[in-house]
């Protein structure tokens, strides 16, 4: 592992793994965020829905 | 000849609009489909015409003397929708000539059909110059220039004045007497004798 750093190729390896990390992590976080946002919206709707059902 | 619908249900978008509808319409008979907007009148007509896939149920044609060979029920239908299916840039005569040649089974002559709807002489007028009532009557005349036993009429009298309404009722009566059958979705009574009713939406 040690001889990896300091070579002129290090930049390329780091950047390619970096890009992969950023994109994959970004995708995962994006999916999780939409998941929670939609759970909240669904809960709000269902709560409101239930109230409306009783009213009419 | 009879058109038999057995437990038809249709989904449009995500909603189940028609559920387990069954009826039979035989020659010389008209079925009037009534009901509030959005209860599925147009959906039923489009389903019969074959424009909508059926979730369950089938349409079948009982043709004892095998008058129409093996053509499927939708090929025996004329469908008159809300739109007039005419090209504004072309003249009335060109539009009707196209539809007569395209649909096959020519019935009345174009001039004769236009006379029946009281618009004789407008052959060379571009369709865009006509009023809404005239456009509707021309699209009605399309039903006359090629023969189909089943007429599916969606709000047929929309945009027609009283005189044209009576005139159209006469045409429908002739079609029924010729052994045809009609399924019409409408609010206004069409003034036809031998009719059956199918009411949507109010039963529950």
């Amino acid at each position: 592992m040690s001889e990896l750093f300091g070579t002129q190729y290090f930049g390329f390896i780091a950047s390619s793994f970096g890009v992969t990390l950023i994109v994959l992590l970004g995708m995962t976080i994006w999916i999780l965020m939409t998941y929670h946002a939609r759970r909240k919206a669904l809960a709000k709707l269902e709560a409101a829905g239930i109230k409306r059902a009783n009213k009419t | 000849m009879k058109l038999i619908a057995s437990n038809i249900s249709v989904i449009r978008g995500e909603e189940l609009i028609l559920e387990d509808i069954s009826f039979t319409v035989s020659s010389n008979e008209a079925l009037i489909v009534r009901g509030a907007n959005g209860t599925g009148k147009s959906t039923l007509l489009r389903a019969i015409a074959g424009l909508l896939p059926l979730e369950t149920g089938t349409f079948s044609v009982d043709d004892p003397d095998n008058e129409f060979g093996d053509s499927t029920h939708s090929q025996l239908c004329h469908y008159l929708g809300h739109e007039n299916a005419m090209k504004p840039a072309m003249t009335v005569g060109e539009n009707l000539a196209f539809w007569q040649e395209f649909a096959g089974q020519p019935h009345l002559e174009i001039d004769e059909a236009m006379e029946m709807v009281g618009l004789d002489g407008l052959q060379d007028v571009p369709f865009s110059h006509l009023s809404t009532g005239q456009r509707r009557r021309i699209s009605i005349s399309r039903l006359l220039i090629s023969y189909r036993p089943i007429w599916l009429l969606d709000e047929p009298t929309a945009g027609l004045d009283a005189a044209s309404e009576k005139q159209f009722a006469k045409l429908m009566q002739i079609h029924l007497e010729d052994g045809g059958l009609i399924i019409a979705a409408t609010h206004i009574p069409l003034g036809l004798e031998n009719t059956k009713e199918l009411v949507f939406g109010e039963q529950e």
Partner: protein
């Protein structure tokens, strides 16, 4: 698409037809998949970095451990979309469109990754960031196809009708991919022969193969995990839509009743 018309489905798939049962299944399977993915990624990376340098490419060969799996998953995602499209058109399976629609963004991301890592890998060898070689070019076109399909889904309102139209678009895209591949190969003759995907088996020395295959599996499980989560999101989106429409209708009927 009601559940009624799925009785002609293969046994297993029918069980999945009902969204709520599918969501329950996802809740059980997701943690397991996540652990496997993280485990495989760890092993793959560790193996990848402990392997000696390639005599030709030196250290940059390690980029292959990320580039090749991304390329595999880019194609795998499209395969999932094609089977989703067939599921919609042939079996009218209610979740097929959800699967296809959820796979598209993932496929686009993996294709982008394939392009990015490919051009970074090429930089030291060919001296430029972008080279018009066969594989990179065909993946660039695949990327455009993905974006086109995603734009198509976004511009359509009703999931039920748009499902079948999108399915046709996916299949037409699938028919074109071999033609595009062939024309791009003709157009470019620069790229080194694909070292792993050769018909006579991988040309790579075995010690490179194990990390590569592990990383490949890791990416596969990553795709499966994210795909299930994306499908869950899509189902939630549709449930929200239905509730909103129901709420609107109730208000309409409430107004009518009160006027």
């Amino acid at each position: 698409m009601t559940i009624a018309d799925t009785q002609n489905l293969p046994r297993g798939l029918t069980a999945l037809a009902n969204p709520t049962r599918f969501l329950a299944l996802v809740r059980v399977v997701l943690p397991v998949l996540t652990i496997i993915t993280i485990g495989l990624l760890a092993i793959g990376l560790w193996l990848g970095f402990s392997v000696p340098d390639d005599y030709q490419q030196g250290r940059t060969v390690r980029i292959m451990f990320v580039h090749v799996p991304s390329v595999w998953m880019a194609m795998g995602a499209y395969m999932v979309m094609v089977s989703g499209a067939l599921g919609v058109l042939v079996w009218r399976h209610p979740l097929a469109d959800v699967a296809a629609r959820a796979a598209a963004p993932l496929g686009a991301c993996f294709t982008f990754l394939g392009l990015a890592t490919g051009s970074i890998w090429g930089r030291p060898m060919w001296g430029t960031w972008w080279v018009w070689d066969a594989r990179l070019t065909s993946f660039l076109i695949l990327f455009i196809i993905y974006l086109g399909l995603i734009a198509l889904w976004n511009s359509m309102e009703e999931p039920a009708k748009s499902a079948r139209i999108a399915a046709v678009a996916i299949l037409v895209g699938a028919i074109n991919i071999p033609i595009i591949k062939f024309s791009v190969d003709w157009f470019t003759t620069l790229h080194q022969p694909a070292s792993v995907l050769r018909t006579d088996g991988p040309k790579l020395a075995p010690e490179f193969l194990y990390p590569l295959l592990t990383m490949g599996l890791a990416f596969l499980f990553l795709f499966l995990t994210l795909h299930l989560m994306a499908m869950r999101n899509e189902i939630l989106r549709r449930q929200i839509r239905t509730l909103q429409r129901k709420a609107a209708r109730e208000i309409r009927s409430a107004n009518k009743a009160s006027t």
